[in-house]
């Protein structure tokens, strides 16, 4: 589909982000701050587009929404970098230098808001709560999972700001619940996609649900594990789409519906794959079922 005149100019946002990041890093764009893969707009579509979708739907002008989208990507980069430092997963970067980059990126992300929201605005205590070391947990209104809180921070800040700037503070609680449901779904999907890595690293994972690798694989081959799990994702996305619709943020509702469609396809593909492997195994062992005949004279 061709972008319309009211689509976010992703290339322009990327260029603005890279220019700012290069300034912070004295000309180079180190691997942890590259957009490709780590921060790609395809992977982080909500984070890239939310200020644009909500801002435009609430009547903010395009230039401001573009600027807020750049801010959102800078904030995403800062928070991802901070998480990587905490998890010891930095890619060829010194932790102390990375921490400085993270601080500077966050500072740049907030610059747009400093110019527009007075120091007395409710936005600043909100940002302070989000960025406090134990702050993000306070943001999860649907589930208190740590993953959800981590995923939520880069979205809640611009969401809150857009509501303030559009004089739509009344919309924020609904928007926050919408984001929590969407994030719940995304985190659950992440857990399904990353279950083996999480298990190997000893991280909690909703999909494994306390099972070992062998236990989970046996369950996948012998029971319908996939569909009930993905049904939880579908339920969360349906609630998110309903709330986005109630706020009349059409592109957000559409994106959530697109996710639901893609995840439903994944669910069916996974369920069919493991069912087929289980069936082939049963055929191989000669245990594929022939039902016992009823006793003579019975029906």
């Amino acid at each position: 589909m061709q972008p319309t005149t009211d689509d976010l100019d992703v290339a322009a946002v990327a260029a603005a982000y890279e220019a700012q990041a290069r300034l912070i890093c004295a000309g180079d764009l180190p691997a942890p701050l590259e957009l490709r893969g780590r921060l790609a707009p395809e992977r982080w579509k909500l984070e890239w587009h939310l200020p644009w979708w909500v801002g435009r739907s609430f009547g903010l002008d395009a230039a401001l929404c573009h600027e807020l989208s750049v801010s959102s990507v800078l904030g995403l980069a800062a928070i991802r970098l901070r998480d990587d430092i905490a998890d010891g997963e930095l890619d060829r970067a010194d932790p102390a230098t990375a921490a400085e980059w993270s601080e500077a990126l966050l500072d740049a992300a907030l610059e747009s808001y400093r110019a527009r929201l007075p120091s007395s605005s409710e936005f600043w205590p909100f940002v302070a709560a989000v960025l406090a070391p134990d702050g993000p947990a306070a943001l999860a209104s649907v589930s208190d999972g740590a993953d959800l809180a981590r995923r939520g921070a880069p979205l809640k800040v611009p969401a809150f700001a857009v509501c303030q700037l559009a004089d739509r503070s009344d919309a924020f609680p609904t928007l926050a619940r919408c984001l929590d449901h969407a994030l719940t779904a995304l985190v659950l999907y992440d857990h399904a996609a990353d279950w083996e890595a999480d298990l190997a690293a000893g991280r909690a994972n909703a999909f494994t649900d306390g099972r070992s690798r062998e236990e989970l694989l046996v369950a996948l081959l012998s029971d319908d594990v996939v569909r009930p799990y993905f049904a939880r994702i579908a339920t969360a996305l349906a609630r998110a789409a309903e709330l986005a619709g109630a706020l009349a943020v059409g592109p957000l509702a559409q994106h959530i519906c697109d996710l639901a469609e893609r995840f439903a396809l994944d669910s069916e593909a996974l369920a069919a794959h493991y069912s087929a492997v289980g069936d082939r195994a049963a055929a191989l062992f000669g245990t594929a079922q022939e039902r016992p005949a009823p006793p003579e004279g019975r029906s």
Binding site: E42, R43, K45, L186, Y189, A192, A193, W195, E196, E214, L217, V218, L220, L221, S222, L259, R262, F263, L265, D266, A269, L270, H273, V277, G278, R280, A281, A282, L284, F285, G286, T287, Q289, R291, P292, P294, P295, R298, S299
Partner: protein, 110 residues
């Protein structure tokens, strides 16, 4: 299939006609027994695909390996495992083991 400590309601009663004679509900009882048997066989086979140690054990001593899962099969079903041509099975089981990864099915990302 029996578990170690089944409750009466979980057990298909096949003695002296058993459930087949209760209220003429043959189809329900038969289906339950058949389903439990299918589940038991599916569990054994799935475990054999996933767990190479269990597969070896099943090959060497089917009864002991199946006992390990707290499953009891009747003689007819147990004899299936005794009669298997394991040498023919080995490469196919290995191939199925290679299809257990999630990465091929889940590529959409977001």
């Amino acid at each position: 299939m029996d578990t170690d400590q089944p409750t009466p309601s979980q057990m298909p009663n096949t003695e002296g006609g058993g459930a087949y004679d209760q209220g003429g509900d043959y189809q329900t009882a038969s289906l339950r027994a058949s389903t439990e048997r299918e589940v038991a066989l599916r569990l054994i086979v799935s475990r054999a695909i996933v767990d190479a140690d269990f597969y070896r054990h099943l090959k060497e001593d089917p009864q002991a390996a199946i006992d390990e899962l707290h499953i009891r099969l009747d003689d007819a079903d147990l004899s299936r495992f005794h009669r298997l041509d394991w040498a023919r099975l080995d490469p196919h089981v290995e191939a199925l083991r290679g299809e257990l990864g999630f990465d091929t099915a889940l590529r959409s990302g977001w």
